[in-house]
Symmetry: C2
Subunit: 324 residues, 2 copies
């Protein structure tokens, strides 16, 4: 779309700061489109939006946090496909009150994360927003063999790559103005780290992995996707059941402390935005992923249950993250 | 980012409607990322945002119009690189008042245009917006040899692929509630057609084309980019001048009628969003592009002038599209 002279000026300044040398770049930032030589293997793309007062508030999220997180949530999607990231495009709609130093800090947060993975900001857009900050990022990566959400078999175990429920703990701490009491949880909420560090391990055992996705909507909702593809394009698929093992959930101390007398495992079940990876595989291959935690198992018979020792409690109401 | 159960439901319905069979698709819509086999040549990406009450108003733009236009402006960027489109990702932030039938119509507008070029909607996001509709589209295409904005030489002529100023004519008609008097202009404004039809011609003569871009910010602003790359990343470049030939501008009758006693060519000079292509090349190759109009020429000496017969009028104030 049409930009104003003021926007051209700001875009130019951004360009000078975010541009990196990438051997695959053919036409850099600043043309009608960004052109690059293809990487070996397949292309993987994803796109994810963040809206002020829906996904974050400016009173607790800094510009640096938002630059980091808007890219991180997209990189998590690439990690969940087993893909290496290369390029990101960033569109921003910003209220007039936003200062240039805010914008500067935003891109510092984003490029700090991008540089960590040798990737590059390749374009995007900048507009005025009548209300609220809106950030939309698309990413481009590559992989040899994609790891999809499909392929879970009854009997498969469900593994999580790291702590669950910690992001929700941080969000609650921010909402309750108890940031200093839950520093680790707040950090995880504001600056989640996409699990691209797991790519070598995932690639090594691609053949054994039945399904993989990132955990962004809470364990129950995401495991349901792995169980029977509820959002898939009308393909007939037999729903299988899930047993969750809450006693084994990877819960951080801060989550347990935040839950107090309530059930801390509920943070893992229903809280979102942990951006850890969830994997399903046959129990016989459990040993290939010693650092992952077994949080559940898929069953032939339908129904979703919590297993506490010998006790079995059915989950019958699926409220998603609104549960909190 | 995290979605709500309601958003999952709507996303699923959208998926069913937009999904197409593409031989290069490896992992379709509905996974963490969309995976495809690379097309021959180089990859070209672009991303462009549209914001309600900044770029459009809902009282005159239908959902179908917006679905069309949000994709069209991105496809225009691909055309301007000489690239064939393949995939688009679409992020939408929508106020609660937006109905499902609005959303349906939006995707009808978008897929109607996408189908025209055999391309596919490959993903994106959907969120609540606290105020106003925000649409952000990214596109992926490919080309053998990109046509960039760089390479204009003094003495080069400036060619336009079609009418200029017509989109601004339509916008004014909409703002003045005179839609029925300017049907062609309104159509051009609401549903611009990206000039992908010119790709075969552009490819045939790639060697001869010095620079190419799409005309989205008005002829003056865009020709200035072709003249001396004012937004480029600090590369030293000698500014060259421009002579515009307003007597030869490709103006539609409706633009002349809208301008009334004023100068119709000003609509072409300052109005934006025409999404025609602008090309620079040596005068000796003028004959290769008989259907394009010669609207100016670049000069060794700096300065931007309007040439009316023997008279020469200097443009000294660059107000961009705010001029209107």
């Amino acid at each position: 779309m049409q930009n104003t002279p003021k926007e051209w000026q700001v875009l130019k300044q951004i360009r000078n700061k975010v541009q990196r040398h990438n051997p695959n770049t053919v036409v850099p930032l600043g043309d009608d489109g960004f052109v690059f030589k293809n990487f070996p293997g397949l292309s993987v793309i994803a796109q994810d939006m963040m809206v002020e007062d829906v996904h974050f508030r400016l009173d607790y999220a800094s510009a640096f946090d938002l630059g980091h997180k808007a890219l991180a949530v997209n990189l998590s999607d690439l990690a969940a496909m087993g893909a290496q990231p290369h390029f990101a495009q960033v569109s921003l709609a910003l209220p007039k009150e936003i200062t240039e130093s805010w914008l500067d800090e935003f891109y510092q947060g984003m490029t700090a994360l991008a540089d960590r993975f040798g990737m590059e900001i390749a374009g995007g857009d900048l507009c005025v927003s009548p209300r609220g900050v809106i950030i939309d990022v698309s990413v481009h990566g590559s992989c040899e063999r994609p790891l999809t959400r499909h392929g879970t078999q009854p009997g498969d175990i469900l593994l999580a790559s790291g702590p669950l429920g910690i992001s929700t703990t941080g969000l609650r701490a921010l909402h309750e103005d108890r940031r200093n009491d839950f520093p680790q949880a707040v950090e995880k909420h504001l600056r989640p780290m996409p699990r691209l560090d797991l790519l070598p391990e995932l690639r090594k055992h691609t053949d054994k992995i039945h399904a993989l996705m990132d955990c962004s909507d809470g364990l129950v909702n995401d495991a349901l996707i792995l169980a029977n593809k509820p959002y898939n394009n009308g393909q007939a698929t037999s729903a299988i059941g899930i047993h969750f093992f809450p006693d084994q959930f990877p819960l951080e101390d801060e989550t347990i402390r935040m839950a107090h007398l309530a059930k801390a495992y509920e943070y893992a079940l229903w809280g979102g935005e942990d951006y850890e990876l969830l994997m399903t595989l046959s129990p016989e291959h459990r040993g290939l992923f010693p650092e992952w935690t077994e949080v559940g198992q898929f069953t032939e018979s339908p129904g979703v249950f919590l297993i506490h020792g010998d006790a079995k409690e059915e989950i019958e109401s699926f409220k998603g993250w609104k549960h909190f």
